[in-house]
């Protein structure tokens, strides 16, 4: 028995380090891609180091305590008052040390918190509204003609502070971009905000972190960080209404789309489709994913999604609709072309 906790502790720390070493992910708190996330990661590693040291120390102490010493205790009440006094000092000292440690950690945490929530002039304001189970994304500009709505994909310019205003249309959700920033809840009747900067171009995945019902697991979102020029081009493209299709199949698709239940919920700006309760499809073809990061964007996946949304995301609010196979293909082609 002796010494085993110690060995276990060392093993655990090693295993932890080994596994963490290989942690690079597009949705990982351990792969920070902005100052906020780096601050968080730094604090985490600092805490981890201190606390691991404490853990190892406690386990060593425990292991030493288990070493049999002294004569067998026939009378349990016979304790040596001198060693008791020594122990008193040690325990009191350790209690004080614990107090100092947590005080210091609290200080670090507080400073970090201040850094994290420091307010900078933001370059982009995005309003994100949580819905069961997708994200409505609205870019706000003083010039009303330059505001627009999209869904489940947020583009940001690299190196520029972004402010995300958060609220919810139904239940509580939580907006979490591990590579860029911690999380913040979206609460009906309340507006929260969160700020981050993406330092490098890339794709960062986020996910709803507060249980929000049936399809909480499939409520992902994507942040696309790109150079300012690319971001501005993207924004101008998003502001524009949908292009009118010219290929015959897409024309058929548009007609089918507009004459079907699709329009009850979805908007395609520039057409008669003006539903407000489901993701804006004006430029759906330009997005990388479908159904809140559930499927990669492709014509095939669009068709599959339209045919059987509940096979892919059971309980989603998109209904199953009676459609001819030709119509399905045409609608998928039409939507895919909405770049």
């Amino acid at each position: 028995m002796t010494g085993r906790p110690h060995a276990r502790a060392a093993l655990a720390v090693l295993a932890f380090a080994a596994i963490l070493g290989g942690c690079q992910g597009w949705q990982s708190a351990l792969d920070p891609q902005g100052p906020q996330a780096r601050e968080l990661a730094w604090l985490f590693w600092m805490f981890l180091a201190v606390l691991t040291a404490i853990f190892v120390a406690v386990m060593i102490a425990l292991a030493l305590a288990l070493i049999p010493r002294g004569p067998p205790r026939d009378d349990p009440l016979a304790v040596d008052p001198r060693s008791e006094r020594r122990k008193n000092f040690v325990v009191a000292g350790l209690a004080v040390a614990t107090g100092v440690t947590v005080l210091v950690l609290t200080g670090f945490s507080y400073v970090s918190q201040r850094n994290l929530f420091r307010v900078e002039e933001e370059a982009v304001i995005v309003r994100v509204t949580g819905h069961q189970w997708w994200w409505e994304v609205r870019y706000e500009e003083p010039d009303a003609s330059r505001t627009f709505t999209t869904a489940n994909e947020i583009h940001v310019p690299v190196g520029k502070p972004v402010k995300v205003k958060l609220n919810s249309a139904d239940v509580i959700h939580s907006f979490w971009l591990p590579n860029l920033m911690g999380k913040m809840d979206l609460i009906p009747g309340q507006e929260n905000d969160i700020r981050f900067v993406a330092e490098r171009p890339g794709l960062y995945r986020g996910q709803c972190a507060e249980f929000c019902g049936l399809q909480h697991a499939r409520m992902g979102l994507l942040v696309v960080a790109e150079e300012e020029g690319a971001f501005n081009r993207w924004r101008d493209a998003q502001i524009a209404p949908a292009e009118t299709p010219t290929e015959p199949e897409r024309i058929t698709g548009q007609q089918a789309f507009l004459s079907r239940p699709c329009v009850m919920c979805h908007t395609v700006r520039g057409t008669g489709a003006g539903g407000k309760v489901a993701p804006d499809l004006t430029h759906i073809g330009s997005r990388r994913h479908l159904a809140a990061s559930t499927l990669p964007m492709s014509r095939g996946n669009l068709a599959a999604w339209i045919v059987d949304p509940h096979g892919i995301k059971p309980g989603v609010n998109m209904p199953t609709i009676k459609l001819d196979p030709d119509d399905i293909n045409a609608i998928a082609a039409y939507l895919e072309g909405l770049k």
Binding site: M1, R73, Q113, P178
Partner: protein, 639 residues
Amino acid sequence: MSDAAVTSGRDLRDTALPDGELHARLSRTWGTGKGLIARLSTVDHKIIGRRYLITAFVFLLLGGALAAAMRIQLARPGNQVLGPDAYNQLFTMHGTTMMFLFAVPVMEAVGVYLVPLMVGTRNIAFPRLNAFSYWTYLFGGIFIWTAFALKVGPDVGWFAYVPLSGPQYGVGKRPDVWAQMITFTEVSALAVAVEIIVTTFKQRAPGMTLDRIPLFVWAMLVTSFAIVFSMPAIVIASTTLILDRLIGTHFYNAAEGGDSLLYQHLFWFFGHPEVYIIFLPATGMVSMIVATFARRPAFGYIPLVLSLIAIGFLSFGLWVHHMFATGLPQLGMSFFTANSMLIAIPNGVQIFCWIATLWGGRPVFRTPLLFVLGFFFIFVIGGLSGIMLASVPIDLQVHDTYFVVAHFHYVLIGGAVFPLLGAVYYWFPKLTGRMMSEAMGRWNFWLAFVGFNLAFFPMHILGLQGMPRRVYTYGPEMGWANLNLLATVGAVILALSFLLFVWNVFSSVRGGAIAGDNPWDAGTLEWATASPPPPQNFDRIPLVTSREPLWAERGAMPVVGGLTVDDRQVLVTTVTDARAELRESSPEPSIWPFLASVALTVLFVGSIFTPWAVVWGAVPVGVALLGWFWPKGDVEDEG
């Protein structure tokens, strides 16, 4: 106690009888009769405590089965074993069962069984209330599991945040079932808390001054106060939730001036002390086990008691660390960071004292101590990851992820279930008169230890890698598959360890070695009586002269006399010095607590279907309470 002994009639005193006859007569007076009615009427704290224990362990196994199903679903990405609807019900039932139907009741169960024995009295205070609390707990558990079987299992998480659990999004009766089950457990937990407080304060054996109370009893006392002060918050939360849902009040409707965050505040004002309600009794068990197997009194009795009390107080100032991501004011959150870190100090002191107790002696490595050592390893990890969660910035990353799942399983399984299993091995001989198998116990421990760490350690990393909790599936592109598979393997090993535990219990009840009164040579009063204890607990009430009376008084315990033999009488003592104050009769068995509980169940269950059930259901409850308290002109009713 100076009354002259009267040798006949109603006022026969124990001083007048020889040991053998006294034992037989007291057993008759305090015993539980045979037959169904007698069984339903019993007020013996040991029988009720045993029922509580068995029921709680049944719920543990049920909740564990749900966990196993969830782990199988998550073993591979995109698994199709469970759909989202089933999965959501499963994790809600798992959390609810483990927190409300296992963890809190099982700790109360141990308290109900052991506290009267440890303080040297014949029954718990308010024994009929005790019976009532058990039935209410049992019916609440049966209610929610029946609903689950009927596809009405709650699916909103064990803390049922509004608006998801509210009238608009919580469809059907599912959240009502959850909220009403909470009401059942609130009632039963409050009842037990009151009994334990009064038993500890007023029924201690003479001489057991405040600084001679066993540490487990101290832990139960602090826990009981925490229950008394925290449960009202959840009473309000669950009741207002039901009111919102069923009669259209607007407590949590932002559009009408309500606030969904209010629910979270109320819930966690209860929910955080709840963690300590589960954990503190476990620390009491650890203190007892460590002292016995280190073969010396616990080091630092006073610091340990003060730590318990400090934790009890501080646990009420932590709740906002569950809400760091809700957009509360920064400075306010920092206060809760500081407070959450502060609680590490009393917890640290406890750990240091236990290590100091073990230090420099010759610890006896039996199964109970193994579980306590496992507790040290696991709980310290859980406590330290708790320090991370106390920090607002770190919490913003790991809140509501698998890191948190890992953390609270480290704290609750490591901090409460490991000591509890150790406690079962430790007190099993007292309950049954037989020892549990030591060989199986070691296998049990090592399987549990390895399985637990395999199952839950990877979850820390999963959380940091971005896996939110409460997801029924994840895509292969997320890179979480291997660690999840590892966790599932660990869960299987952990499940095996529990099967082994159950097997050990069943085989030892029949075939274990005969234990004797004090198989571990422990020092506290529960070991001063037979195993299992007779209905009257002690033939003669012990006189306590030290913290570990059995170690101090080898051979012959001093006793006090003068209690009547032919009716149920307990000795009431003063709160601080435990000086004998008066003789008080303890209630006889009664069927009314059972009937009152049945009536209350009808009221509670009916009220989720119609508010009129509260009106009409109150009639049978009233009748049952009248029957319960109706004066019968016997000795019990004398002032």
